[in-house]
């Protein structure tokens, strides 16, 4: 049971990565792989602040802000300097590796002694349950597990709602239109380059927020923790699209969150069934590969079927 709860909680935390990847890959059609660096950046920034006894809420906000800044860098490289989007992401991601090491001062820092959002959630949970273990469908769960799950869910729900509203405002709609048809939005007097920069900033801000929450959940920040984040996020987005089957905004956002949770559950099950953790990234990459080529393959299979004979 605690394995299931843990997977759900991780799924909600990883939803932030999925939402960020949804913005860059789906809304802007921009293959932004800054995420691998910015998720660690968020964790490193928040970790460093937490170790220095900064308020966890402020530290989390600091994590978001650092990712936002990283996104501005990638966006600026890609638009103002006309560097290929993929390369711009690689450059920033690579640079961030050193930045992250500098921020943390070493390759990982432990947050076990610091007060974090997790300890906040735990305290609230204990206060609400008076420290008694909870019973869910006959299983005993601790207040800590339950409060972390509820807190991460509330956090994601809030972020999803804010995103849903944001992308229907004047600014947010202009951003979506930039990804859809940049010729059109320029003709309507909008600076599409600024839209891309801002969009990548928001995307990487969310991703860094995910890294921040992950570090506080697992109790440490590590310079390697961001590796594979883009592919994980993409896998979640793809699963989400398969679940909700549409690209409508509200459903897509819900789908990305659902996809992330489902993906974490699948990972937990696979690990339980004996998947070597070392193979996890390979399996994920293979999964994304299959999901990317599946639509094309299906179409080809369909057209190969013999049609009516023309006279």
């Amino acid at each position: 049971m605690s394995l299931l709860l843990g997977a759900l909680t991780l799924g909600f935390i990883f939803s932030f990565i999925a939402l960020g990847v949804y913005i860059s890959f789906r809304i802007f059609a921009f293959p932004d792989i800054t995420a691998d660096g910015s998720s660690t950046l968020g964790a490193a920034m928040a970790g460093m602040l937490l170790v220095h006894n900064v308020n966890p809420v402020l530290a989390t906000a600091g994590g978001f802000a650092s990712g936002f800044l990283a996104g501005i860098f990638t966006g600026t490289l890609a638009t103002k300097f006309k560097i290929n989007g993929l390369l711009a992401g690689i450059l920033v991601m690579t640079g961030l590796y050193s930045v992250n090491l500098h921020i943390m001062g070493r390759s990982n820092i432990s947050l076990l002694g610091s007060s974090t959002l997790s300890t906040y959630a735990d305290r609230i949970g204990v206060a609400l349950t008076h420290g008694r273990p909870l019973h869910l469908m006959g299983w005993e769960i601790t207040a800590l597990e339950a409060s972390l799950l509820v807190a991460s869910f509330l956090f994601v729900a809030l972020a999803g709602c804010v995103m849903y509203v944001f992308f229907q405002t004047n600014l947010g709609t202009a951003m979506r239109a930039t990804g859809d048809n940049s010729d059109m939005i320029r003709a309507l007097g909008v600076n599409d380059e600024n839209m891309i920069i801002l969009g990548l900033a928001v995307s990487n801000g969310l991703i860094a927020l995910g890294g921040t929450l992950l570090a506080q959940y697992q109790g440490f920040a590590d310079v390697q923790m961001g590796i594979g984040m883009v592919v994980w996020g993409l896998a979640s987005v793809i699963i989400g699209e398969a679940l909700v089957g549409t690209r409508q905004l509200g459903l897509s956002i819900t789908g990305a969150v659902m996809g992330s949770v489902l993906f974490r559950l699948l990972v937990a099950i696979a690990l339980r069934l004996g998947l070597d953790p070392n193979d996890l990234k390979l399996v994920t990459a293979a999964f994304v590969f299959l999901a990317l080529i599946a639509p094309g393959l299906l179409k080809r299979l369909k057209t190969r079927r013999p049609g009516p004979v023309h006279a």
Binding site: F166, Q168, T169, N170, L171, G172, T173, A174, R176, A177, D180, N181, D183, M184, I185, R186, A187, L188, G189, V190, N191, D192, R247
Partner: protein, 270 residues
């Protein structure tokens, strides 16, 4: 008023594919004037429109719009003052977004994009009224993605978007060329109505001699990156399709003459 002062544009400069698309083109378009541009293939009609819109910067010369020098203004900056309808119906609208969202983006042309709610009720009501006037049955489909519409419907909406806020200048780049004849007629009728009603300063490129003679108060003919004829006033009103075809024939003959002269010289000297 649009003033184009001897602009030049060469594509692929210094390569075997060099194309002198615009050669010393000058043109002054008065306010509320509706100018039709025709020309042979590759004569620079669309290039002229794109130069004005800012899709690229001209190599030399000056473009000013409403008294400001816009020569070095980026495309999006000019977009605040210029309404455009493109040849390809896919270019003017965002396919995955709804009709209402597309119109709303256009209704905020040139204004800062802030965190205010886009689809306000009174705005949507205006959309419904104006879309209803198109007689295309789209007023009840405002929430549908624009990609689900036909090319004619998309061009009609793009026209509506381009003129929602009165633009300083309206650029129509063969906006009916990709449509079936019936939709093309509809869009042309709509164009004429809107341009007359709002007294818009308009540049319209077309391949249709019919449109060229029926519409507008001034007609410009381009060839090889230059303006070769400029009919206006009574002369424009008098001009018929046959006259235009005769002018094109003239151009063609002159071209043949050029080629045969070149051939003669080659034989004599090489």
């Amino acid at each position: 008023m649009l003033e184009i002062c001897s602009i030049n544009k060469t594509f692929n400069s210094g390569t075997p594919n060099e194309l002198r698309a615009l050669q010393n083109v000058s043109l002054t378009v008065n306010d509320e004037s509706f100018v039709i541009i025709i020309g042979t293939n590759g004569s620079g009609k669309s290039t002229l429109l794109n130069a004005v819109a800012g899709s690229f910067y001209v190599d030399s010369g000056k473009i000013s719009l409403g008294g400001s020098d816009v020569t070095r203004w980026p495309e999006y900056h000019r977009g605040k003052f210029i309404g455009r309808v493109f040849q390809n119906p896919f270019t003017g609208t965002a396919a995955n977004m709804s009709i209402a969202e597309n119109l709303a983006l256009a209704a905020h042309r040139g204004r800062p994009r802030r965190l205010d709610w886009l689809l306000r009720h009174n705005l949507v009501r205006q959309f419904r009224d104006r879309v209803c006037q198109l007689n295309m049955g789209l007023e009840n489909r405002l929430k549908n993605p624009i990609g689900s519409l036909s090319g004619g419907q998309r061009q009609a909406l793009t026209l509506l978007m381009a003129t929602w806020l009165r633009p300083e200048l309206l650029l129509l780049d063969e906006h009916t060329a990709a449509l079936d004849p019936k939709s093309a007629d509809q869009v042309i009728a709509l164009t004429d109505t809107i341009v007359r009603r709002d007294k818009l300063t308009t540049l319209m490129v077309t391949h249709s001699m019919q449109q060229a003679t029926n519409l507008g108060d001034r007609l410009i003919m381009m060839h090889r990156g230059q303006i070769i004829h400029d009919f206006r006033g009574a002369e424009k009103k008098r001009i018929r399709v046959d006259d235009l075809l005769a002018r094109f024939e003239e151009v063609r003959r002159a071209e043949l003459l050029d080629e045969s002269a070149a051939e003669m010289l080659r034989r004599a000297y090489v």
